[in-house]
Symmetry: C2
Subunit: 132 residues, 2 copies
DNA sequence: CGGAATCCCCCGTGATACTG
DNA sequence: CAGTATCACGGGGGATTCCG
């Protein structure tokens, strides 16, 4: 990374999606938005993620200017990750995505329940809409 | 597809991201938001996308309830894709992503220009990693 | 915390099929 | 024939696992 060959997309939407694309990035951001967090904290908050992957995702977000990294020269070395201004600007967007995701889940689950009553799980088959 | 094993994520954010994830989905949505479009139209608007992939992405978005599909039994077979209510609800979110992407592009490019004046293009290197 | 091997999914190419 | 949809195949990148 930091590789000139791996440039971000030109279209703003795709660029934004690319930046927040990553198995754990939204979750990490969720915690970091709340305030500075050190690595061990994040690790404890998300037990299902490997330390390597966690650091990996943090590194990428750092390169993309979403989070900042501060190293404290204390006895037990200490590293804190904080959200940058640019990163914080992403919070409302992620919240919007979250809300839409909830609505989507509700509506889709409703359809799934209805689908249980009918035969086929796929509605795309018996569909001959001959509208004019 | 329509495979019960491939369920969407539980977390709303990830669910939303998963649904709009796809090389061409944002672009397709952009056009479909403007009004009903038939396949050949979309193909003409986006020359760089293959017919197969186009149909693929449309199918997925249909299964996810983002777009609707209408088949007209005319002389040359005709199919129109339209945005659903749920799909339209996504428009402001995509716009927000777009705006943030623009800002991100501006700020990042500024940093890149500054980096030209300094020595190292990578800031992640000379960082005292004293963690074990 | 880095590197290598691995798996799997996304996407692209080209050819083919179906329907009036 | 024109428009729509599908299939067989292959490459590439992200994510996971194991090892040092």
């Amino acid at each position: 990374m930091a590789d000139p060959t791996k440039r971000l997309p030109k279209l703003p939407v795709e660029r934004a999606l690319k930046v927040i694309a990553g198995r754990w990035k939204p979750v990490i951001l969720y915690y970091v938005f709340d305030g500075p967090k050190r690595l061990s904290e994040l690790k404890r908050m998300m037990p299902d993620i490997t330390q390597k992957v966690l650091i990996q995702q943090l590194r990428e977000m750092e390169e993309h200017g979403l989070v900042g990294r501060r190293v404290f020269a204390e006895v037990p070395a200490r590293v804190e990750y904080t959200a940058t201004e640019l990163g914080l600007a992403l919070e409302p967007v992620l919240l919007a995505l979250c809300r839409w995701g909830q609505r989507h889940a509700e509506e889709q689950n409703e359809l799934d329940e209805l689908a249980d009553c009918i035969v086929h799980p796929r509605a795309s088959q018996a569909r001959a809409n001959t509208a004019a």
